[in-house]
């Protein structure tokens, strides 16, 4: 088997992520907007903001990752590209994973990179911790994109499927959100949390592509 179709799928998806609707700007705007609303809602007390900051950023990251996901497979089903990818002979799971990874690079990684700025807004100390947290957000964001990809594949032929994607994907986000927040707040049982966060991301990357492939084959049938 040649890797050429998988690379081509990655290239096309990356180009589409930037051409289709401002690339990272839309989810970044959503992330910023959602996070900025919180201090306005709960007041500017430093201790309170410090306490809720990491949790709010996780929620904002989860929601803003959903913003771009509607496009990854629905557009392919509409314009006939999905039919072509299904006929390349390459495993559809690998193609789906390549497309998801391309969209994560275009939109998900910028989201994670913006998170330390938001943390500062929530009164976090500027320290090495911010970089470690950046790593956690990057890992968690990857899992969000792969689980969201399953929702996107399942609703590929559904008009206005954005809401459906959220309903399918949000329950799958739960382990990532739990371990991610636990790893940062340092509460009881937080020692193993970074490892569990990494494990949940690895699980998503390993399982989600097969679910996406099955859903996409069904969408084309």
């Amino acid at each position: 088997m040649s890797a050429a179709p998988i690379l081509a799928a990655f290239r096309q998806a990356f180009a589409e992520a930037w051409a289709g609707g401002a690339g990272a700007l839309l989810p970044l705007g959503f992330l910023g907007g959602a996070a900025v609303l919180v201090p306005l809602g709960i007041g500017s007390d430093t201790q309170t903001l410090k306490a809720v900051g990491p949790g709010i950023i996780w929620v904002a990251l989860a929601l803003s990752s959903l913003v771009t996901l509607e496009r990854i497979f629905q557009a392919d089903a509409e314009d006939g590209t999905l039919d072509l990818w299904l006929q390349t002979g390459a495993p559809m799971a690998a193609i789906a994973a390549a497309k998801t990874l391309a969209h994560w690079l275009a939109a998900g990684l910028p989201l994670a990179l913006a998170s330390p700025l938001l943390a500062l807004m929530f009164q976090a100390q500027a320290s090495m911790d911010l970089l470690i947290h950046l790593g956690f957000y990057t890992l968690g964001g990857l899992a969000f994109f792969f689980w969201g990809g399953v929702g996107a594949a399942l609703s590929a032929t559904v008009r206005r499927g954005g809401l459906l994607i959220s309903i399918i994907a949000l329950p799958l986000y739960v382990p990532t959100a739990i371990f991610g927040a636990l790893a940062m707040t340092g509460g009881i049982g937080s020692d193993g949390a970074p490892m569990l966060l990494a494990a949940s991301t690895l699980f998503a990357c390993a399982v989600a592509p097969y679910a996406m492939a099955a859903a996409l084959r069904l969408a084309a049938d």
Binding site: S2, P5, E16, A19, E78, D79, G80, D83, L86, A220
Partner: protein
């Protein structure tokens, strides 16, 4: 291209359900090198569904099918992205399929030289069709599955497409096309749904 006369596609007793309704059943066909089969039928008779079945996209409800050779697929939807130019589209699929074809030459054959660098969202329906047909020339594959190939093509486009199809048939290629009009290439068999 293959020189044997073993069937490239052999299908018998194909049937499909759409919802509660039987769209068609008992469809059999055999495609050998050099054959051109035309699918006939009213709108909604199942021509597209049968073609999707032969392409491996849709699973038949009943029947048997052997697909012995690689195929090209030209569906109703061309598979061109809004930001993709004809040149970019052909380059992408050349990369995906590992083809070393001369893309400027294909663009010229499809009369797309002037539109070669226009993004997909600005292409006319006919130009989109021509871009999709360009994929046929990227790689030598024995079977072409064409869904209403004449749609949106002007007279020159039809003549061009007829010439490309006739050339494919002469070199022992084979096609199955759904069509409403008379074909401009030698037809060996018609299947009515």
């Amino acid at each position: 291209m293959t020189t044997s006369t073993a069937p490239l596609i052999q299908a018998s007793g194909l049937a499909i359900l759409r919802g509660e309704r039987v769209l068609f059943r008992g469809v059999s066909l055999s495609l050998s090198p050099g054959d051109a089969i035309v699918l006939r039928g009213a709108n909604g008779a199942g021509k597209t569904t049968l073609l999707r079945m032969l392409a491996g996209l849709t699973r038949p409800e009943a029947g048997e099918m052997v697909r012995a050779a690689p195929h090209h697929w030209i569906g109703h939807k061309e598979g061109i992205k809004p930001q993709e130019t004809p040149r970019g589209h052909l380059a992408l699929w050349a990369q995906a399929w590992g083809s070393k074809a001369d893309i400027p030459d294909i663009l010229e054959k499809m009369a797309l030289t002037r539109a070669a660098d226009v993004p997909g969202r600005y292409l006319s329906a006919g130009q989109r069709r021509r871009t999709a047909f360009g994929r046929l020339l990227l790689e030598d594959r024995p079977v072409w599955l064409l869904d209403e190939p004449y749609t949106a093509l002007d007279a020159a486009g039809r003549t061009m497409l007829d010439a490309v199809i006739s050339g494919h048939l002469r070199t022992n290629g084979a096609i199955i096309a759904s069509m409403h009009d008379a074909a401009g290439f030698p037809v060996t068999n018609e299947v009515t749904l």
